[in-house]
């Protein structure tokens, strides 16, 4: 374990009440039979109304019971959550957590196979849809504790479009200090739009043909009989596409323009795919079609700028309109360093007309369902993995914060590289350099 509880407690003696509270939240060797979080306003995500003055019982890493007036069994660690709000841990639905440390420093970024690099590589080294992020995930990344302290307990780690319309496989992780990988090859990713058309010579038409040709070839694929022509998908790429076609895993397509959302829906119908739209700036224009096919959309609500000609229809109430039309909505942020800001995204969705419970679901239960995480994930249903957060108030507000974070029944340390910087510079008059 990277951040030792003993060290944290030692420091807290010097640093006053706030640091002390943070240290108390550090992991303790749990000898208790279970944990009882008592007296909070609890959002289980099973119904819309929260449970008031409720108790959550956690045992063996799972939610054992939830309700008002539950007795706390003997031997349980009792945590007072009166006046606080309890929710499931938040799930960041689209990140590069573990794949990026410093975005501008290429040596710390493993999220994509860069186009420029591949130009110099032989065709045989192309990975395309076979690119798999699981091998690059760094559990020691400083981004994990920072986002965890902001209430994120699980995340989807996705590849970034690199050198092919199919960008590869994503994975699910939990934001613990070790054993982070939950499920590799969870979803396949691709993109259609202004940038990705460059992969196929600049035309969106050619790009969509390329996606279709790849899937068609994979459907008929027999490795021993396949001899690719130059520029066609390689054996390893088609192996990946075939694995995808033979599974029920989703294809997550980054698409913004309404016409390409329609094209994506047609592609999904023709090949019998589970489709998820990522971005979807103009998804509100295709809301009825998306709802009819039950295709979820991963939205950054704050993306209301016409940043490209694919996004001229961008608007802030996109999520609200999609939800109203019956489209499953999931939220994301624009960058992984601040994946913790998904609650601000959700809050803004509410300000733009989305019902509060749906906005909370879009950062808890809904992403777990869309990506097929372990049953119950993103809820506080009995039997669910015990990921929960105790908030100082409404978690979608900006003036609240996470006080304690639990993953799989363990209290997580709240210390981060950032909290250590704060303590180092809190008092500029103190002797410098050894804290």
């Amino acid at each position: 374990m990277r951040r030792g509880a003993g060290i944290a407690i030692g420091r807290s003696l010097l640093r006053g009440v706030v640091a002390g509270l943070a240290a108390l939240a550090a992991p303790v060797a749990v000898s208790a039979a279970g944990i009882a979080v008592v007296g909070g306003t609890v959002h289980t995500l099973e119904g819309e109304a929260p449970l008031q003055d409720a108790t959550v019982l956690v045992r063996d890493g799972r939610i054992a019971a939830v309700g008002a007036g539950l007795d706390v069994p003997a031997g349980y660690e009792r945590v007072d959550a009166r006046g606080k709000v309890v929710t499931p841990g938040l799930i960041a639905a689209h990140t590069q957590l573990g794949l990026v440390e410093i975005s501008g420093e290429a040596s710390t970024v493993d999220a994509r196979v860069a186009i420029a690099a591949v130009d110099d590589l032989k065709e045989a080294y192309r990975l395309g849809p076979a690119f798999d992020v699981q091998y690059g995930i760094n559990p020691q990344s400083t981004l994990l504790p920072v986002n965890r302290a902001g209430g994120i307990t699980r995340a989807i780690v996705a590849p970034v479009p690199g050198n092919d319309p199919f960008s590869g496989w994503g994975a699910a992780i939990r934001l613990t200090d070790d054993d982070v990988l939950l499920r590799p090859r969870l979803a396949l990713y691709g993109s259609i739009g202004a940038g990705s058309a460059d992969f196929t010579g600049g035309s969106r038409a050619a790009l969509i043909q390329r996606l279709r040709m790849g899937l068609a070839a994979a459907r008929e694929f027999r490795p021993s009989r396949y001899e690719p022509e130059e520029g066609e998908y390689t054996r390893r790429e088609l192996t990946a596409l075939k694995e995808f076609l033979d599974s029920d895993r989703p294809l997550v397509l980054a698409v913004n323009r309404a016409s390409e959302i329609e094209q994506s829906l047609a592609l999904a119908r023709d090949f019998g795919l589970r489709l998820v739209i990522l971005g979807g700036a103009e998804a509100w224009r295709a809301a009825d079609a998306l709802a009819a096919d039950r295709v979820p959309v991963i939205v950054d609500v704050l993306d209301n700028l016409p940043l490209s000609f694919d996004q001229l229809g961008a608007r802030m109430d996109n999520a609200a309109l999609l939800h109203e039309a019956g489209v499953p909505v999931v939220f994301t942020t624009e960058d992984s360093h601040n994946a913790r800001l998904i609650r601000q995204v959700a809050g803004n969705a509410v300000a733009e007309g989305m019902p509060w419970p749906a906005a909370l679901a879009a950062i808890t239960r809904r992403p777990a369902e869309v990506f097929g995480l372990q049953p119950g994930t993103g809820t506080l249903a009995v039997g669910a993995p015990a990921d929960l957060v105790i908030w100082t108030g409404d978690p979608l507000e900006l003036t609240t914060w996470a006080e304690r974070v639990m993953i799989d029944g363990q209290w997580m340390p709240m210390e981060t590289r950032q909290s250590e910087l704060l303590e180092r510079y809190r008092d500029l008059d103190a002797p410098y350099g050894y804290r």
Partner: protein, 463 residues
């Protein structure tokens, strides 16, 4: 033959206009003195009394159930017991009133939406010193991002050149009003600014081209060489002016537009806004300023300002910061959410800025996050204090604090009426006033500006 301009026509014209249209004439006179002067004119307004609002004045005060009296685009009075017989009354029961939001760091119009090569006009990346370029000469007033910032309560913003160069050029302060020309947006009388940049950007841009600067010490040598040249240029100009009409007449130096900007700084007329992330670089830049006798008004981005908050306070330099950005490059790796809080607590002038067409729409939310981080760290900060980070303190850094940034008698009526507590994620500006004119109303599509670019677009007016 050189044709001489009729000497009297201009002046005569000006005199005639003076009788008929005093304001236009004063513009004409301004533009005679300064060819680039503002042509902004406040719109006619009605006398208004906004009552029953929770008022955050931007001076640190909070007034419950307060009233503000507006007349002729100015604030006449503010307080709990203000009355104005004859004024139209706007009952703001349940609403909050703040000064207009001011963003000290924006690239709207210079880096508009859509973000394509054809619109990228914010960084003259052809030389490490482009002090001669002016951001205002790139501004596209039809950038659809301007109305979005207005809907977020932004009444004034500083548009800066980018940070590729040691000296990026002059910035411009504008009022966020729909206009056909940038001149009609320019904030009358606002000082020009000079954008300087520390750190990774200049050394990367020029180092990758195998030319100076390629290191941080190269950056500093570049600043010093330019300031030394500017001092010499100023000396030559002064000597020529002093000798004018005397026998030993000296030729003034040939005009050098970059040097004119730098001399403007040395003369205290142009304010330095210095992009600088790291603590030790801020300290070095203060040394450079001391060597050449100029002042740094504000460090921008200032991700590590908390490490030298005492120094900033002592030197009277503002720090303009993000609430929580970090890690996008190495010099941003040490960003913490308490940055604004720690700078503010040290007594330095703390500002929350956007540098983002997304963030500028929600500076109130950015300030709210900084306020929450302060409270979490045990540093008490009230709403009436935190609002200064995006109003009064920002106005001070732009040199327009005698005109806007606070709700005080005599100031411009630049106001935002919020439909709730502006530090709540659920709050939105209900109405936005600039010089007393209601430029935006969330409930009235007729008061929601639409740019040329957004015409016939499906999201027109509903972004």
């Amino acid at each position: 033959m050189i044709r001489r301009r009729p000497a009297t026509a201009g002046r005569l014209g000006a005199t005639l206009l003076l009788t008929a249209l005093p304001l236009a004439a004063s513009h004409a006179a301004d533009r005679e003195r300064d060819p680039y002067a503002s042509t902004y004119r406040p719109r006619p307004t009605e006398e208004l009394l906004i009552t029953n609002a929770t008022i955050l004045t931007g001076t640190g005060e909070r007034i419950e159930r307060g009233a503000v009296h507006l007349r002729d685009g100015r604030i006449v009075a503010v307080g709990a017991g203000v009355d104005a017989p004859g004024a139209r009354v706007l009952d703001a029961e349940g609403k909050w009133l703040t000064p207009g939001i001011i963003d000290v760091h924006s690239h709207l119009g210079d880096y508009p939406s859509p973000e394509i090569d054809a619109t990228a006009d914010g960084n003259e990346m052809t030389s490490p010193n482009t002090a001669e370029v002016w951001a205002e000469h790139s501004v596209w007033p039809q950038d659809p991002q301007f109305p979005l910032a207005l809907a977020g309560g932004v009444t004034t913003l500083q548009i800066l050149p980018g940070s590729a160069n040691l000296f990026g050029g002059r910035g411009v302060t504008v009022k966020n009003v729909p206009a056909r020309t940038v001149q009609a947006m320019k904030f009358p009388g606002a000082p020009h600014s000079l954008k300087m940049a520390c750190g990774e950007n200049p050394k990367r841009v020029y180092g990758s081209r195998d030319r100076a600067p390629s290191t941080r010490m190269g950056n500093v040598a570049g600043y010093r060489a330019a300031w030394a040249k500017a001092q010499a240029y100023r000396e030559k100009r002064r000597a020529a002016a002093e000798a004018d009409g005397e026998d030993g007449k000296k030729e003034p130096p040939e005009r050098d537009l970059a040097m004119e900007t730098l001399v403007g700084v040395l003369d205290g007329e142009i304010l330095v806004h210095n992009h600088c992330y790291r603590a030790e670089e801020m300290a070095v830049m203060l040394d450079v300023a001391r060597e050449f006798g100029y002042r740094i008004t504000a460090f921008h981005h200032a991700v590590e300002a908390y490490k030298v908050a005492d120094l900033l306070a002592e030197q009277g330099v503002c720090a303009a910061m993000w609430a929580d950005w970090w890690g996008f490059k190495l010099e941003a790796f040490d960003g913490i959410e308490e940055n604004v809080a720690l700078v503010d607590r040290a007594g330095a002038c703390a500002i929350v800025h956007s540098d983002s067409a997304r963030g500028i729409q929600r500076l109130n939310q950015e300030a709210a996050k900084s306020m929450a981080a302060a409270r979490r760290a045990g540093i008490p900060v009230t709403e009436e204090h935190a609002i200064r980070w995006i109003t009064g303190n920002a106005a001070r850094a732009l040199g327009i604090d005698d005109e806007t940034g606070t709700i005080e008698p005599g100031k411009a009526a630049d106001l935002v009426l919020w439909n709730g507590n502006p530090f709540s994620v659920y709050a939105r500006p209900q109405q936005v006033y600039i010089d007393g004119y209601k430029y935006y109303d969330r409930s009235d599509p007729a008061r929601q500006p639409v740019t040329d670019f957004d015409l016939e677009q499906t999201a027109r007016g509903v972004r």
